[in-house]
């Protein structure tokens, strides 16, 4: 749920996004009407048609993650326990999380002013966890760590997509903006923990079955060990999530400073230029 300062999109850490995947879904900058206020040299915003499409997209995504949230609550109430809730929302989770791949396209086409590379890394990290870990290694699906990141993602995404929806409509309630910055503090570590524990839980099964691995000899003289790859992925969380957390912390601090001076209850106080500062 990281936000960059609402300054020039290139602010704060245009560091190469070496696997800088975040718990929250990919950056989708707010759209601005094509007549950007003082946005010299910034990426162009969407036209009217694109803006309408983006509103639709964000509404659908908000609804989707709400469906997942409701599904989790209902399943919990029905069963009376936390365990195995993944199965009750497996399909919508896969559908809506995978749908986020469109956000890469939005950046590439230019209707959203975020970096394709950064957005790409962030979506791919989510998609990787959804498909290449949770879906692929059946045995981890009943782990509690899965619930941990699913809940974190769900709350984050509901806030994030509704944030974008309201911003596009130029009517952003302060509450949502506040929530986005504040919930991150709990949700991000929660999500990261859930993800790491899930990957860790998958390791023995991957090693035992040789999942997604290629051994020598073969006629293309290539090998790949998925088990080692997963371990390296876990290790990459330290620099990547660390950098992301730091950037978000800085952004939040800057925003709080600015909010302290401005009227805090201003509704629709201008959609900030959002790019991920990682």
């Amino acid at each position: 749920m990281a936000l960059a300062a609402d300054a020039v999109p290139r602010e704060g850490g245009q560091t190469p996004a070496a696997g800088s995947a975040a718990m929250s879904a990919p950056a989708m900058g707010t759209s601005r009407p094509a007549v950007a206020d003082g946005a010299l040299g910034r990426k162009r915003g969407p036209g009217a048609l694109a803006a309408a499409y983006l509103v639709l997209y964000n509404v659908v995504m908000t609804a989707g993650w709400l469906v997942i949230a409701v599904g989790l609550v209902r399943a919990y109430l029905a069963r009376g326990s936390y365990h195995g809730l993944y199965y009750s929302i497996e399909k919508p989770l896969k559908f809506f999380q995978t749908g986020a791949l469109l956000e890469i396209l939005h950046c590439a086409v230019g209707i959203v002013p975020s970096s394709v590379v950064l957005t790409g890394f962030q979506v791919m990290s989510r998609v990787f966890l959804t498909w290449a870990v949770t879906h692929s290694v059946r045995e981890v699906q009943s782990e509690d760590s899965v619930l941990l990141f699913v809940v974190a993602w769900t709350i984050t995404e509901i806030i994030r997509y509704s944030f974008y929806t309201f911003s596009l409509l130029n009517h952003l309630p302060y509450l949502i903006k506040w929530a986005r910055y504040t919930f991150f503090i709990v949700l991000y570590p929660m999500g990261v923990t859930g993800e790491l524990l899930t990957i860790y839980a998958a390791l023995p099964y991957v090693q035992k079955t040789g999942l997604y691995s290629i051994t020598l000899p073969n006629k293309y003289n290539f090998s790949f060990d998925y088990h080692t790859f997963l371990i390296l992925s876990m290790a990459s969380y330290i620099p990547c999530r660390g950098r992301r957390s730091w950037a978000t912390w800085r952004t939040t601090a800057k925003w709080n400073e600015r909010a302290a001076t401005l009227h805090p209850n201003a509704v629709g106080s201008g959609p900030p230029r959002i790019t991920y500062a990682c």
Binding site: P217, Y220, N221, F222
Partner: protein
Amino acid sequence: MKHYEVEILDAKTKDKLCFLDKVEPNATIGEIKSMFHKSHPQWYPARQSIRLDPKGKSLKDEDVLQHLPVGTTATFYFRDLGAQISWVTVFLTEYAGPLLIYLLFYFRVPFIYAPKYDFTASKHWVVHLACMCHSFHYVKRLLETLFVHRFSHGTMPLRNIFKNCTYYWGFAAWMAYYINHPLYTPPTYGEQQVRAALIIFLFCQIGNFSIHITLRNLRPPGSKTRKIPYPTKNPFTWIFLLVSCPNYTYELGSWLGFTLMTQCLPVAFFTLVGFIQMTVWAKGKHRSYLKEFRDYPPLRSPILPFIL
């Protein structure tokens, strides 16, 4: 002779960094940089970017003061380019690495493969051939760096050496690991495939070298002039009719040959990544040629005839 006064301001903060009086009108930017260096010894000339405008393009070392659009008191803006390292140093380091690293794998130095294979030799002759080709390629590059290339810039930012060495050394290790592996599988079509691949490889090595020599001869020693390259009597240069950067074309060809020879996926990846990077460079070079020369031959493509 009317002397100029030169003041140099920091491009970001606009602080006055240096004031030079009694500067000759025919002084070059290079000479001004040396004078600036005297008052700020930490900023050697190679890391100075001097411009007329804080956000403008860097002036060239050869630019002469009196020919610039400045009054008799000239104001320049300075930006620190960061620590610099010479191109020659970077090239030598980044090419020496693969040469040595590949040999470590070829000779199966301990701790790479299982201990029973230490210092053994591969039983496939294509593996020996591949080692010769790979080594030849990098020796050629080293020699060209020392004796053939004429660089337009002396230096590049220091961080490039880490980036570049990671790329070259990393890929070299990755390729060499598989080619020299005890479980290496030789090419599917055997000797035929290897022979064809070797011919392609050698052809492109000679071609690449021919282009380097031609480009060198375009530029008198110590100069930084730029001219349109044309085909010469050497048939390997006739490709200039169709391509702006045939050195990259031949380089791609060499690595395609090596991929075919070794039938190794990591080599194919390396070829692909190199091709992407060289295409970016070729397109840039092609664009500069078009901008600089009105009479640039229209038939030429940046890197692949008619295609790219």
